[in-house]
């Protein structure tokens, strides 16, 4: 470990360039962080420019010298919310270059274990959002907003595209300021600063209220169990769940 900090532009390509830089220079930084960092650093800072060709080279090296599965872990590790993920991925890749494909089987190793758990959490959250996304219809487009910890948009896109082949979809990720747009089976993720919501029309209001009615009626009162509900559906999802907001019965 040395007292240097690598900075990159917060893209997957940028991170792979950092990995390349570290391994080529045989210099293990204390931290790898997306630029810009506001805090006062005691480390020497090196900005690694993003070069797609170099990133691709790093990816190929991981795929061939470790395994395709290891590359997937590294790619998905980048989407995780876990702190210090870049450093973790670097440690994982270094282990991989030492052990080869065997590295992903070292479930008892703390580095492999942390990365695998982070990626698992990413997939768990993505899976939960397959159910917890709530669309509203505006102008014949279906729009939704989510606040995930990890960057799940890319993982949930294929599911929603296949599910609604006839519709135009938009899912706004408020945490990471990204918008997923699906239209005619094509998905794109765009950086978006803000997303403004129009008021719901009469039909939209009606179905929201009907859904809330169903949600409230289908629970068996004698079996009420708030703890069980919270463990399956933590409060952090509730802000964007139709059934957890007040709805009024249409006239």
């Amino acid at each position: 470990m040395s007292d240097v900090r690598y900075l990159y532009n917060d893209t997957a390509d940028g991170m792979f360039c950092c990995l390349y830089e570290c391994l080529a220079a045989r210099r293990i930084p204390a931290e790898i962080l997306p630029q810009p960092q506001a805090d006062l650093s005691f480390y020497e800072e090196i900005y690694v420019p993003t070069d797609p060709a170099r990133a691709e080279k790093m990816r190929t090296a991981i795929r061939q010298r470790i395994s395709p599965y290891a590359l997937r872990l590294a790619e998905e590790g980048f989407l995780c919310a876990c702190e210090g993920k870049e450093r973790l991925i670097l440690d994982f890749v270094r282990l991989g270059l030492h052990f080869g494909a065997r590295v992903t089987g070292l479930a008892g190793n703390p580095v492999v274990d942390r990365l695998q758990k982070a990626v698992q959490a990413l997939h768990r959250e993505a899976h939960q959002y397959l159910g917890f996304v709530r669309f509203s219809e505006y102008d014949r487009a279906l729009c939704a907003e989510i606040e995930p910890k990890n960057q799940v948009l890319g993982l949930i896109a294929p599911h929603f595209c296949a599910r609604y082949p006839q519709e135009t979809l938009m899912i706004f990720d408020r945490t990471h300021r990204q918008l997923l747009v699906c239209a005619r089976g094509q998905a794109r993720i765009l950086p978006v600063e803000r997303f403004d919501w129009q008021p719901a029309d009469a039909e939209e209001t009606r179905y929201r209220a009907l859904w809330k009615l169903f949600y409230d009626t289908v629970a068996i009162p004698e079996r009420e169990n708030p703890r069980c509900r919270l463990s399956h559906m933590p409060k952090r999802y509730w802000n964007h769940l139709t059934e957890q907001q007040e709805q009024t019965r249409p006239a």
Partner: protein, 430 residues
């Protein structure tokens, strides 16, 4: 009556149906239509009772002709009655589905007029969805006992899952409480669906485009606690249903007293939720852990332990199989260790090929060492600092929730009388 009131009545009437599972079918979106299905199933919400909501679960109608004692929709009850039109129900399903509220439809019904007529109504709804809306989402539909087999087959070609409720765990109870139903009318459609699925498997091998018949499998449910059957009877029946009818799931529903009737428990009775929970644990042991009903219970001990789960209970009574050496034990034996589940087993098998395991690694893999520690060795060694005094063992094997549920002042003394006996614990200490 508008859709609002109908939905209110008919979802309240359907809430005692347990199944809300959407797994077992993987299907891409239909071009020109709407909807797909995911192999693992997707939960869309969780109700105030903690149960998952993934399907729009409603009755088509609650104007039921039958008079089953345990059911709130029985003909003799004075409750508001409602019936959807197929168009209303299809519209609700599609609009809910578009907004991603649900994964599909769970459709059941009271018996209106006669079983054939009811079945035809369900068929109309499902047809409308599949053919007119080209709906590719999940559909679970009830096979109506006593309906024409041809109608049930037609439903099966459109639905993902079908179920026939066995209702009560024994024929005597069924005759007593559900005078209009009998064992034969329930088992006949169940066998029909089983054979349909088997035949379809065969066809699918030969012709890829053969239409799928109930690809998500069939399930059933029975009420627990309304009648006097023991857990042993229930588990034996469950096992027979899995073996003879190749069911995907058998659901248990703790009886919620909705009617007062001298044949039933008093209306003040609380639903036996803990018993239901233990039965589900045992059901999992039957399906995924290679246990049989006779290993878990026998006529001399006909009920599951309330304090410890069935797997722990089996393990402390069979200490001759333990401790198990994690490095070398076969899969089947690892599966029997309390605190190790199928997923941990998978990871242990994978990890021990690459490296030697230690207790720290086992913990990271996801093994619940608090329970497993008494039953395993790792590289020939027991867990360091293992406390094997009776109190520590019991504390480890009884879940926190159960300890809380016990009266505080005699939490320790009553351990001995209520829960496992001393003889059961002693072998695990030596």
């Amino acid at each position: 009556m508008d859709v609002w009131e109908k939905l209110q009545i008919l979802s309240a009437a359907a809430r005692y149906d347990v199944s809300c599972c959407t797994s077992g079918v993987a299907r891409g979106g239909a071009a020109g239509g709407i909807g797909n299905a995911a192999q693992a199933g997707i939960c869309h919400s969780f109700a105030a009772d903690g149960r998952c909501i993934s399907l729009l679960k409603v009755l088509f109608s609650n104007a039921c002709r039958y008079n089953c004692a345990y059911c709130m929709n029985r003909a003799g009850n004075d409750v508001p009655r409602a019936t959807f039109t197929p168009q209303e129900l299809a519209d609700l399903t599609i609009q809910f589905y578009r907004r991603n509220y649900i994964e599909g439809l769970f459709l059941s019904s009271g018996i209106v007029r006669d079983p054939d007529y009811t079945c035809e109504q369900l068929l109309t709804v499902v047809r409308l969805l599949r053919e007119q809306y080209r709906f590719g989402g999940y559909i679970h539909v009830k096979a109506i006992p006593g309906a024409d087999p041809r109608l049930i087959t037609q439903l099966g070609l459109l639905a993902d899952r079908m179920s026939v409720n066995i209702e009560l765990p024994s024929e005597q109870s069924l005759t007593r409480l559900a005078p209009d139903k009998n064992r034969q009318t329930i088992l006949r459609p169940m066998a029909l669906i089983r054979d349909g699925i088997a035949e379809n498997r065969h066809d699918l091998v030969r012709y890829r485009a053969a239409p799928a018949f109930v690809p998500g499998g069939q399930s059933t449910q029975m009420i627990v606690g309304a009648t006097g059957e023991t857990d042993y009877t229930i588990l034996t029946l469950t096992q027979a249903l899995y073996r003879r009818y190749a069911l995907k799931r058998v659901y248990f529903s703790a009886y919620v007293p909705v009617n007062s009737n001298p044949l039933l428990p008093a209306t003040t009775t609380k639903p036996p939720l803990l018993r239901e929970h233990r039965l589900y644990q045992a059901d999992w042991l039957l399906r995924y852990y290679g246990f049989t009903a006779d290993e878990l219970l026998d006529p001399a001990h006909p009920n599951l332990h309330t304090m410890v789960d069935p797997k722990c209970s089996w393990a402390v009574q069979h200490m001759e199989f333990f401790p198990v050496e994690v490095q070398t034990a076969p899969r089947e034996m690892l599966l029997r260790v309390p605190g190790i589940g199928p997923r941990s087993v998978q990871r242990i098998l994978y990890a021990r090929r690459a490296a030697r395991l230690d207790f720290e690694a086992l913990r990271r893999i996801g093994v619940v060492l608090r329970r497993a520690q008494y039953f395993i060795t790792c590289g020939g060694k027991q867990m360091p600092g293992l406390r094997t005094d009776p109190e520590a063992v019991l504390r480890a094997l009884i879940s926190d929730a159960q300890q809380q549920a016990m009266p505080a002042q005699d939490r320790q003394l009553t351990f001995w009388d209520q829960t496992i006996t001393r003889e059961d614990v002693v072998p695990c200490l030596t």
